[in-house]
């Protein structure tokens, strides 16, 4: 039964786009309501009931007051429902109402869910299911407020009559323990061939009969109150189906790049689809939105959209000096009336760190070359605009310019190939994703030791000399194996390395030369020093002799005015470290341009701003917009502590003029660690390193949101202020964290802007936190602020989808007040007023 399947690839594309929330986000973007009502009536897809293990429940919160309760079994489960649905071609929004009915102590963290909408195809006696919309569901997406249902909303394109046999299937798997991982979920409830009842007499297709049969059977059950369920259950309500448009739709808005430097071009292609059987004349308008309400027209084009076809409309656009997030918003109009719109997001900045959302560049598996297109696609879909190629080089310090086609990375012995690396960089660049090379202060692998032999002074020595216990057999085998693909999978993964002597300027110079040459060959946009180039004191005579030797006396004199003429017997460790950072920066900017970005891993769990020497050192690296990464934070277990560390680090680095970068709380047992890592990373003003699981089931589309509205977290001008001082208060029934995150800045147009982060407080008790994977959402949060004139207040959130709403301020005692409709985990208010 070929219903939708012939359009699989396009549907897949639509689903992907939907995952980016391109459609969802435009609802309030820029303060315009741009959902255009279609004449097609909204529909409801009635759930049929599975055979057993479930109950019909009545619950006032459920759509229609009824739903199904699915008992959560202590094993992976799969549940198939029947649906009856015959939609016309168009763009639809599917709503899936859910609620968890859990008992105290239930570890909902283990619950992983997935929804899959699909067709059932029958080919002879065989029946196959094919999904056209699939999405994972996390408990964290559902409001934990007792009695409250959450409707998960997804849009999907149907461009042909879908036929009469559709199946909605849900799979629920309780990930009880790791032992279940990797096993396929077994079917617990399956309704494949329900009996036909006397409705057979109706003139319906067999498929419809099947569906209606089950519907009837559900109807026959007497609902039970949800409170009477004595088991943990997933409550499912009737699926809603809302047509967004059944005529023309802006199917896709595609800026070529997810990030551009100021002044860079970013062409945009708008794809318009015609769902009707007639060719339609339309006008496509593109405008560029930034900030809260800044908007600039890009162009307008008259097009003819073929019947049941698409047209792609290109627009040229060039960035100016206005940085941070942009929405490219396209509107399609027919006969002067807007029909549909859509938007896509990107950012503009230099350095890249200013708007950085960093992807996961640990491509360390054999045969990774074949996965690079998929990898880059995922990075783009995650809105990551920068990625570090981790330990790709033959030697982390001494060789970033391999001469072979294939080689082994010195650190970790990762297999790499020239073609793979070039493809990765080129494909990333074609999406505007910046590529950072990794740096570690060792000569590593065969190549590193060969260079170390020639220049032994640049290597550190220890008891037993240089690399006294290195595995020589590994080194020998390295040479034999690296040009021989038939032996690659037998390459043993030892890290053979020797630390560099960073006290010598020639060691620094050697690395800089390697990086510069490599950047010119492969196209690196920056470098991350996993080990910042700090060192201990060195004798002044030796230090100055090196300036002569390298012919850089004048350069150093300019770079190091405070130390150059030192008459002390030694240059202090601080001075040597400072020299190293400045010399690197000087060479990189000179040879690779001002956009070349520098990052340093300076992991710290302390309040850096109280440590003066550390602040001086951090300040050196932050200078000229360096990024300071805090890797130490990845090991923090407690989420409240994680929040503190992220804030300490970000605030210290901000005051130094640099950009903070952190890891998520990877080892935290907190059930909401992943969610709160994202929230506290951004709310503190830091940038994420590696993938926080942006494409997985999260309560919000955080990376997309930050691409568009990151300015209100990341601008270095946003300085902390005391609530009392600015006269701001928050009233909420549930505890909200907001005071440590209150910040202010002066805007270019003379306004005073106050950013208020509203964060649902994380669970402080570790035992409770470990079992918790849902949050209770605050509603009707009242925010007051002393204010002389009426402010312009925007509500911004990533949850459940990118939302920007201009709130209506009400006059309050000494100022104004706004009511925030709801706060899930994290929302922001941007309060602009005349000072």
């Amino acid at each position: 039964m070929p219903i939708l399947w012939w359009e699989t690839s396009r549907l897949t594309m639509c689903v992907r786009q939907n995952m980016w929330r391109g459609l969802a986000g435009l609802a309030f973007c820029g303060g315009l309501s741009l959902i255009f009502t279609s004449p097609v009536a909204a529909g409801v897809m009635k759930l049929t009931r599975p055979a057993e293990g479930s109950a019909v429940i009545e619950d006032v919160g459920a759509p229609g007051g009824k739903g199904l309760a699915i008992k959560i079994e202590e094993k992976p489960g799969n549940l198939v429902f029947g649906l009856q649905w015959t939609p016309a071609p168009g763009l639809y929004r599917v709503g899936l109402p859910l609620r968890l009915h859990l008992k105290p102590g239930f570890n909902s963290r283990r619950l992983k869910m997935k929804a899959a909408f699909g067709t059932v195809e029958k080919d002879g006696g065989k029946q196959g299911e094919k999904s056209w919309l699939t999405f994972p569901i996390s408990p964290s997406q559902l409001d934990a407020t007792p009695g409250v249902w959450t409707v998960l909303s997804h849009s999907v394109t149907i461009d042909a009559v879908s036929g009469k046999e559709l199946t909605l299937s849900y799979s629920f798997a309780e990930d009880k323990v790791a032992k279940n991982q990797g096993k396929r979920a077994k079917s617990v409830f399956v309704v494949k061939k329900p009996k036909l009842n006397d409705l057979d007499t109706l003139d319906e297709s067999p498929a419809q009969k099947e569906g209606m049969d089950v519907v009837n059977r559900i109807g026959a059950d007497a609902p039970v109150p949800v409170e009477s369920l004595d088991y943990a259950a997933i409550l499912v309500g009737d699926v809603s189906l809302e047509p967004i448009t059944t005529t023309l739709a802006v199917e896709k808005v595609w800026p070529e790049y997810v990030h551009v430097y100021p002044g860079g071009s970013n062409p945009v292609v708008v794809t318009v689809r015609n769902f009707t059987a007639q060719e339609t004349e339309a006008v496509v308008t593109l405008e560029m939105k930034t900030g809260l309400a800044e908007s600039a027209p890009v162009g307008e084009q008259r097009v003819r959209v073929p019947a049941s076809g698409v047209v792609r409309v290109p627009f040229a656009w060039k960035a100016g000096t206005r940085d941070y997030g942009y929405a490219a918003m396209a509107i399609v109009s027919v006969a002067g009336k807007p029909v549909h719109s859509n938007a896509e997001y990107f950012s503009v900045s230099t350095p890249i760190w200013k708007t950085a959302i960093q992807g996961n560049g640990f491509l360390d598996w054999y045969g990774r070359e074949s996965t690079i297109p998929e990898h880059v696609d995922g990075i783009r879909r995650s809105y990551c605009n920068v990625e570090e190629a981790f330990s790709w080089q033959p030697s982390s310090w001494t060789d970033l310019n391999p001469t072979q086609n294939d080689w082994w990375a010195g650190q970790c012995d990762f297999h790499n190939s020239r073609k793979g690396l070039q493809d990765w960089v080129a494909l990333s660049h074609s999406n505007g994703i910046k590529m950072i090379t990794y740096s570690w202060a060792t000569a590593s692998g065969k190549r590193g030791f060969d260079i170390g032999r020639r220049f032994p002074d640049t290597l550190c020595r220890e008891t037993g000399g240089i690399a006294p216990q290195i595995d020589l057999n590994d080194l020998d085998v390295y040479d034999i194996g690296h040009d021989r693909p038939e032996l690659w999978e037998y390459h043993s993964g030892n890290w053979l390395s020797n630390f560099m002597n960073l006290g010598l300027l020639r060691t620094i110079h050697m690395h800089a030369e390697e990086v510069i040459k490599s950047a010119k060959t492969f196209g690196w946009d920056g470098i991350r020093f996993d080990y910042p180039p700090s060192w201990s004191p060195m004798g002044t005579a030796d230090v100055q002799r090196e300036f002569e030797m390298l012919g850089v006396k004048d350069v150093i004199k300019e770079l190091m005015p405070e130390d150059f003429a030192s008459t002390n017997a030694v240059w202090s460790g601080e001075a040597i470290s400072r020299r190293n950072v400045r010399y690197f920066r000087y060479l990189f900017k000179k040879e690779l341009g001002e956009n070349f970005a520098l990052s340093y891993n300076v992991g710290s769990l302390v309040q850096v701003h109280t440590n003066k020497p550390l602040m001086v050192w951090f300040g050196e690296m932050s200078r000229n917009q360096g990024q300071l990464m805090n890797e130490a934070i990845r090991g923090v277990g407690s989420i409240p502590h994680y929040a503190d560390v992220a804030l300490w680090h970000a605030e210290a680095v901000r005051t130094l003029g640099g950009y903070s970068c952190v890891f998520q709380a990877e080892r935290s047992p907190d059930g909401l660690a992943s969610v709160y890592s994202a929230v506290f990373t951004f709310a503190s003003g830091a940038h994420p390193y590696l993938d926080y699981g942006w494409l997985g089931a999260k309560p919000g589309f955080y990376s997309q949101f930050m691409t568009r509205y990151g300015e209100y977290c990341w601008d270095l001008a946003l300085a902390p202020v005391a609530a009392e001082k600015v006269g701001l208060s928050v009233e909420s029934k549930l505890p909200l964290l907001w005071e440590p995150y209150l910040r202010q800045r002066q805007t270019g147009d003379g306004l005073l802007q106050t950013v208020v982060h509203l964060i649902s407080a994380p669970e402080a008790d570790p035992a409770k936190a470990a079992l918790k994977s849902q949050g209770q959402w605050s509603r009707a949060v009242l925010v007051r602020k002393t204010c002389k004139s009426e402010p312009d207040v925007w509500f911004l959130t990533a949850e459940p989808e990118l939302t920007a709403i201009r709130l209506r301020p009400e006059k309050s005692d000494k100022g104004y007040a706004v009511t925030v409709p709801s706060v899930h985990f994290w929302s922001m208010l941007v309060w602009s007023e005349k000072p």
């Binding site: 032999r453 032994p456 002074d457 037993g464 000399g465 020589l472 034999i480 038939e486 037998y490």
Partner: protein, 568 residues
């Protein structure tokens, strides 16, 4: 004739298993003597070896010293059998720090030199002061004072310094120093009283010779570090460097006593060979014989023992076997007779459920030199379970008619592993799987006189040696996940196959059959691969007294180094 070859072949196979034919030698008598109390340290006893052995402890960049070539020039072979230092002539520390040398070995090293062995220490960041020699037994042995502490800086010379012979050197200096061999890094060594500088580097000692106890020690201050510009010849690239270092090895080993032949076997340990009385008593009933009868009988390889063991393993008259034929095979092989063939034929039949016995019977049948067993062996070639034994049997039988089929078997075994590139490039896992049948077939062809056999074995040996290293390295992984563990298990199994194949190849080469002597000499004359050079030297060493008529003149003319020395 065939039988003679067979006997000499299997006799040498015994050598490889650790059994010396010199069972009546004084050494054996010494081993058979009552054991001394454990507390009393045995006196150092040098073991006689056909060629001098060098033990090497290597540190980073050791390969730049080109010790392979130096050893070759000195006519020495490398050994890594550190448990038997008494077999060695020279120990080399090539930029090796003390943390690569266990403390017990440091003490043994001292004793080794004290008793007449040689020591050569080569420079580097892992040697002398930086290598932790200060205060260790090595410092005492050295003919130089270690002036630089481990934290000290090494003197270097930006332009480098040249090597030059010392005026009072007593080593022959037939080297071309006019090529200006240069060193960039060296260690400052001060000769102890009585030590002699043989070669200078600039104004610093480069080679210092001295003695300790009965032994000789050479301290070399040169380091293989530096980045010479074009036109400069670093000492390690100097054409005469291997000869100079080889001379140091030779000199150092010059005081080493010849030693005596000893019987060694990890398997037999302190077992005593079966005595004549024991062999004659007890009516060969296992019940009435000592527990380790078979093992001890194997230490007494003679015809009488062989016959006794055959009666135990393959009794006539329907009696039950009292030991496995496979366990006594090596003792029987040299004495196999045509008359045994019929007796073994029954054991070799497909019906025999004991696979090991069946395999041993097939091998032994071939060694019986009874032409009538040929069809049985050819048939067995087609049976995977006994294929290798059949190949061995055919190799002993000596019927050249088997050559085409054995060639086909060799090709068929390797076919799944072949890569288009050829040479020593194979699909790794299939090569490991194919290695044993390929080696058995290649050895059989070698023994049967196939003219291409030596070349074939050489090519196979270079691949095998490489894959053994690769698989050993791969099996050092420690994956935690079950899938990784499963892969590791597979790799280890394949590694074991490769190990077995390599061991079979080494043993199978010995002794060189008369029919292959000419081909072997030709091949040996042009081989360069250090590992194959070692293999050839080893094979020649073990075949020397079995090919008395071989004319090695051509090889001696064509080749220098250890192979030349062996051929003389």
């Amino acid at each position: 004739m065939n039988q003679i070859i067979s006997r000499s072949l299997v006799g040498c196979a015994l050598l490889l298993f650790g059994f010396s034919p010199a069972v009546n030698s004084p050494a054996l008598a010494a081993e058979s003597a009552p054991e001394k109390p454990v507390s009393e340290k045995p006196a150092w006893q040098w073991e006689k070896t056909p060629v001098p052995l060098v033990f090497e402890i290597d540190g980073i960049w050791y390969e730049w010293f080109r010790l392979d070539s130096a050893r070759d020039r000195a006519g020495m072979r490398k050994s890594q059998d550190f448990k038997n230092l008494s077999k060695g002539t020279v120990i080399v520390l090539a930029n090796a720090a003390t943390n690569r040398i266990p403390k017990e070995m440091q003490a043994q090293l001292r004793e080794f030199v004290q008793e007449g062995g040689g020591l050569v220490v080569l420079g580097g960041y892992g040697a002398y002061g930086n290598g932790g020699y200060t205060g260790s037994p090595i410092e005492e042995i050295l003919p130089v004072l270690i002036t630089e502490s481990r934290t000290g800086l090494f003197p270097d010379s930006e332009k480098g310094a040249r090597l030059a012979p010392a005026e009072k050197a007593d080593w022959p200096m037939s080297f071309d120093f006019t090529a200006n061999p240069t060193a960039y890094y060296f260690q400052k060594l001060i000769p102890k009283p009585g030590a002699k500088v043989q070669v200078w580097i600039g104004n610093q000692p480069a080679f210092v010779s001295g003695t300790f106890g009965k032994g000789r020690v050479v301290a070399c201050s040169l380091m293989t570090n530096g980045n010479p510009p074009a036109g400069v010849v670093p000492f390690w690239d100097w054409k005469d460097w291997p000869a100079l270092l080889g001379q140091a090895l030779e000199w150092a080993g010059g005081a080493r006593p010849a030693g005596m032949t000893m019987v060694r076997s990890a398997e037999t340990g302190s077992l005593k060979p079966l005595s004549e009385n024991e062999l004659n008593s007890g009516g060969l009933s296992m019940e009435s014989l000592p527990k380790d009868f078979v093992k001890r009988a194997l230490l007494r390889p003679d015809e009488k023992t062989a016959l006794a063991l055959l009666d135990l393993a393959a009794p006539t008259g329907g009696d039950e076997a009292r030991c496995g034929l496979d366990t006594v095979l090596t003792a029987l092989l040299p004495y196999a007779k045509p008359a045994w063939a019929a007796r073994l034929g029954t054991l070799a039949e497909d019906m025999n459920p004991n696979l090991k016995t069946r395999q041993a019977a097939l091998t032994l049948m071939g060694a019986c030199s009874e032409p009538s067993v040929y069809p049985t062996l050819m048939k067995a070639l087609k049976d995977k379970a006994v294929q290798l034994a059949a190949m061995d049997g055919l190799s002993y039988l000596g019927k050249v008619e088997a050559i085409p089929e054995l060639k086909a078997q060799f090709e068929a075994a390797l076919k799944p592993a072949r890569l288009p590139e050829g040479g020593d490039r194979w699909k790794a896992a299939p090569f490991a799987e194919a290695s044993l049948p390929a080696v058995h077939a290649a050895i059989a062809l070698y023994r049967l006189g196939d003219p291409e056999a030596v070349e074939r074995l050489g090519t196979l040996a270079s691949s095998l040696e490489l894959y053994v290293r690769i698989f050993w390295n791969a099996s050092n992984r420690w994956p935690k996940d079950p899938q990784g563990q499963a892969i590791l298990k597979e790799i280890k199994e394949q590694r074991d196959l490769l190990d077995a194949a390599w061991a079979t190849l080494q043993s199978g080469l010995v002794p060189i059959p008369e029919s292959q002597a000419s081909a072997f000499i030709k091949y040996a004359a042009r081989v360069e691969h250090p590992v194959i050079v070692e293999l050839i030297a080893q094979t020649m060493e073990r075949s020397a007294d079995r090919l008395p008529k071989a004319d090695w003149t051509a090889l001696a003319k064509a080749k220098s180094g250890i192979i030349t020395k062996m051929s003389k």
